[in-house]
């Protein structure tokens, strides 16, 4: 009886239904906690790109500390399109950068976050997204008020090789980006190159790659080029306004 086809079918069906019910119940129950984690992680990334939330290790309540810092320093956000026009009907924090990257550049929603430092100066933070060796690489790049000089960056990855490509999320790698410029003296967009030390003399448009992490480095290079280029129109507009 136990090996009859009917029994096997019934057994398999019952098993699948029970498992599906249990898993979806658990997933639904845990979803709010997971979403909160993701939201906090994103806020932390945004804050870290402008050198905030530095005392996180000492905070008793991580979530509360991050929310507090976010409220304090991130004073605004908006979404633009690739022509640099501000879109009113989209909320910057709600934009899923991964999804946006699948669309053609003309249809992308491009978020910008504004941070105000204690001295009153502002930084403009934009999300970047690209491909490393094993999976996505992503992060935030913060610009100074000239929309050209990099104030700070934060990168992370999903599965780059530990000790090699994975080094892109270390401070040592990210510190290099500070003060680099994405426009050359003639105002042309040149992005920031991640290249092997010694191949090109050090200048303000390049940083050193990571030995053994060349493909991840190339991924970061391409990510910056692709993601930043869609903001160029807006950055130009803002710069021209500043000169007038």
């Amino acid at each position: 009886m136990k090996d009859s086809n009917t029994y096997i079918f019934l057994y398999a069906s019952a098993m699948v239904i029970i498992v599906a019910a249990v898993l979806s119940a658990v997933a639904t129950f845990l979803k709010p906690y997971q979403d909160l984690n993701i939201e906090i992680a994103r806020k932390l990334d945004i804050l870290m790109s402008v050198e905030k939330a530095r005392e996180l290790a000492m905070a008793d309540d991580r979530t509360a500390y991050i929310n507090e810092e976010y409220e304090r320093y991130i004073v605004g956000s908006y979404v633009i399109n690739h022509q640099g026009e501000i879109l009113d009907d989209v909320e910057a924090f709600e934009v899923n950068v991964r999804e946006e990257n699948r669309k053609p550049v003309e249809q992308r929603n491009l978020p910008i976050f504004v941070a105000r430092h204690d001295d009153g100066s502002e930084s403009y933070i934009i999300p970047v997204y690209g491909r490393g060796l094993w999976g996505p690489v992503f992060g935030y790049v913060a610009f100074e008020e000239d929309y050209n000089t990099i104030f700070g960056v934060i990168f992370d990855h999903e599965g780059e090789t530990p000790g090699l490509g994975a080094e892109i999320n270390t401070r040592a790698f990210q510190e290099q980006f500070k003060g680099k410029r994405i426009f050359d003296d003639d105002g042309e967009f040149v992005s920031i190159d991640v290249i092997k030390p010694g191949t090109v003399p050090m200048n303000e448009h390049r940083v050193d790659g990571i030995s053994g992490g060349t493909i991840t480095g190339n991924g970061v290079d391409a990510m910056l080029e692709n993601s930043l280029s869609s903001y160029v129109a807006y950055f130009r507009k803002q710069k021209n306004q500043n000169y007038e």
Binding site: K2, D3, Y7, I8, Y11, A12, M15, V16, V19, V22, L23, V26, A27, L30, Y33, Q34, N37, I38, I40, A41, E158, G159, P162, G163, L164
Partner: protein
């Protein structure tokens, strides 16, 4: 039947189920199963510990569930049933990690999911839980997972210490000040092949100390 029911929960026979996988029948060093994840997550101590705990939970629970169902499972689809049980438990663990230990879950990324393909778990379900009662099965599961886990943790300890000079993210080597006298981290330790060599060293030490494992001519 009544005799076995009277058997105390922590009888010698049951405790053996728990202790042999730690040494004499260690899944990694003796049976050489589940090596792939042992290589992948041991570059640092913390993910190794979390994965070890996750495997203990999944294996203990899977063994009990399969053991409870053992008289109802049709033998023709038993492998599928085992897989479904393991996969569901792993998804549960993954969801819980994502909800309450987000940072660690980000570090482990796909490796939690890969517990499903860990051959030790399926091996124990097939070899033990399908033909034993829940309590011994539970002990067998916990024992084997712990046998797997302690190897993972030892490997993770040495790889993080020698490879990046840290332990659990704390800069041990820097605190000791050994960099000042010319010590350098061995970047090799972070690469997967060194996990294999570390496991090899553990096997060597274990065999030279444990007479039972020395093969007779």
């Amino acid at each position: 039947m009544s005799k076995s029911e009277k058997e105390p929960l922590f009888s010698g026979k049951n405790m053996k189920l728990l202790s042999t996988p730690l040494n004499d029948e260690n899944p990694i060093t003796v049976q050489v199963l589940g090596i792939c994840s042992a290589l992948a997550v041991t570059a640092m101590l913390e993910p190794a510990v979390v994965l070890a705990i996750a495997v203990v939970v999944v294996m203990g629970a899977a063994n009990v569930i399969i053991s409870l169902l053992r008289n109802t499972i049709p033998s023709r689809i038993r492998i599928i049933v085992q897989l479904v049980v393991i996969a569901s438990l792993v998804i549960l663990v993954d969801q819980v990690l994502k909800a309450f230990f987000y940072d660690v879950s980000r570090q482990l990324s796909v490796f939690v999911g890969l517990i499903i393909t860990n051959c030790i778990i399926m091996g124990r379900l097939e070899a033990f839980a399908l033909s034993n009662k829940p309590w011994p099965s539970f002990l067998d599961g916990i024992g084997n997972a712990a046998g797997y886990g302690w190897i993972l943790i030892v490997v993770g300890f040495f790889r993080e210490l020698l490879g990046s000079g840290n332990l659990w993210g704390y800069p041990v080597m820097e605190t000791l000040g050994v960099y000042n006298i010319g010590y350098e981290d061995n970047g090799f330790m972070i690469l997967p092949p060194m996990a294999l060599i570390t496991v090899g060293v553990i096997i060597w030490v274990q065999r030279s100390r444990n007479r039972k494992l020395i093969e007779s001519k």
